[in-house]
Amino acid sequence: MIKTFSLYRNDLLPQQDAREISLHYVIAVLCFLASLAALGALASDRAASGWSREIRAEVTVQVRPTGLESGSMAAARAAELLAGVRGVEEAAAVEPEKAKELIRPWLGDAILNDLPIPNLVTVRLDPDHPARPDALMSALSARDMDASIDDHSIWLRDIEQAALIIRLISVSIFLLIATAAAAIVGFATRAGLTARANIIEVLSLCGASDWFIARRFQVRFAQMAGVAGLIGAGAAALVMGVLKTTALSQSFLLALPFSWYDLLILIPCPVLAVLIAAFTARTVTLKILGAGLLGEGV
């Protein structure tokens, strides 16, 4: 018969009121944003590593013919030579027509025919054990070839810097959201304590310690943050699912390549929300009670 009594549910505070529903909403939105920030960070990190891996695995060699040798012959000889270097998967001379095609969008047909076309060799390196540029250069010099190597390091640096900035921005957003959540829970705890000063006074007069009262608020806000965190993380997962499965967003996925495994990063989000809410509610309650801010009788 007594099973329905509140004390069996360990719940001494009244059921939630309108303020707490708003708090649910705010925490859910914050968790949603934090989850999106985390997913965005993962995807942008993956995109940056993909790009830098591709760039790192390719080297362009420009060959200048010497003596009676034509440019395409020199390029073919260099390609053959480089293909035998350790750490090179493939080396191929770029056909003059293909080189023109690559340049045409920038210079146009008018002057293209009057310009000397560079003799290029594209070298695809072994991604696990790539040949170093100086090894390629020494192989070419050993055969008296006049060549220069572009290992794309300028682009690589830019991409790595961009990836680092994205990571820093994501971490900053995450920290901002976490502190905002703590501030909101702290504010709600203060409001909750003031609104329930009469309840706290009765509990105090019945011999409740500050820790006992703080635990009530800690559990209440932790539960609330847990539910709100699940809703926020769930919404973020839903957004990612829609982006990943609809044809419309394929170009978006090229820029931010999401993986289903990324959803695992959403698991700590509600857990973090619970920890932040519990810690804040407990700290604020103990501080307010200790300072006697609810009146001398409490």
């Binding site: 009594f5 009765v202 007069l205 500050d210 006992f212």
Partner: protein, 266 residues
């Protein structure tokens, strides 16, 4: 020369006394709405020079006109109000500077009945009555039978799951009393505990207090109810103009013989 024994030091706490007041005063801060704790302006004091002991196992009434400071005196005893002057000891411990953890521990030994009941509106009758036990960390499954028996005794068996807002004034008062005595406190303080209930129920409640007193509890009841005071024949502390007086029991007895034929003896 410093005092060598508790008898030499008039302020030394005496563990035979459950409550000891030595030169206690309480005043309002003339600069604000709050009771102050440091001022020494005697004119601002509502209670002054309070010197009394409540020995272990004693039973006293506290009476006096409205506004005499009965509730304030009770508040000082249950540590909801610090005195402006003097020293209070509770269970042999000086409590003027007790920290919050000590206050919580001391309050677990006190049962309090408030004039305005102070029930928690979101908890039902059973939960309100069981609150002091729950706060002490006891398992509800273990105290369920005892709490139900106590509520039955105060006539609330049929209302165990009722919410306080549905109770009459008398039922609320009985519930407040049940909550105050549920953990067998060492000291029971009651502020007008029979103010909202009929005379028969008032006597029944008084018998409960007397029974708890016989079992060892020290009882102090603030009341205006002269009939109840006369019927019980217990000693009376009277607050007049901010000071505490012990009522002359002989005069009271004569008064009782003259005009108290209608009082039912407890």
């Amino acid at each position: 020369m410093p005092p060598q024994t508790p008898e030499d030091d008039i302020f030394a706490p005496d563990d035979r006394q459950v409550v000891s007041f030595r030169g206690v005063g309480l005043g309002y801060d003339v600069h604000g709405p709050h009771l102050h704790t440091t001022g020494h302006d005697p004119d601002a004091y509502i209670l002054r020079d309070l010197d009394f002991d409540l020995p272990a196992g004693s039973f006293h009434f506290l009476t006096g006109p409205s506004g005499a400071g009965k509730t304030s005196l009770l508040r000082m005893i249950f540590l909801a109000q610090r005195p402006s002057a003097g020293e209070i000891s509770l269970f042999g411990e000086r409590i003027n500077y007790a920290d919050r953890a000590q206050v919580a521990q001391l309050r677990r030994r006190i049962g309090i009945v408030f004039q305005d009941f102070r029930l928690l509106d979101h908890l039902n009758v059973f939960d309100n009555a069981a609150l002091p036990l729950f706060v002490r960390g006891e398992d509800p499954r273990r105290f369920e039978a005892d709490v139900t028996e106590l509520l039955t005794w105060v006539g609330l068996k049929a209302r165990l799951q009722a919410m306080p807002e549905t109770l009459s004034g008398g039922e609320k008062q009985r519930l407040a009393i049940a909550r105050a005595v549920v953990n067998r406190p060492t000291l029971i303080l009651a502020d007008e505990p029979t103010g909202n209930i009929d005379y028969a129920m008032g006597l029944r409640i008084m018998r409960l207090f007397i029974e708890l007193n016989r079992l060892g509890a020290t009882v102090l009841i603030a009341t205006h109810d002269e009939g109840l005071i006369r019927a019980s024949g217990m000693p009376v502390l009277e607050l007049k103009e901010g000071r505490l007086h012990r009522r002359d029991l002989t005069a009271d007895l004569e008064d009782r013989l003259r005009g108290g034929q209608n009082d039912q003896n407890l």
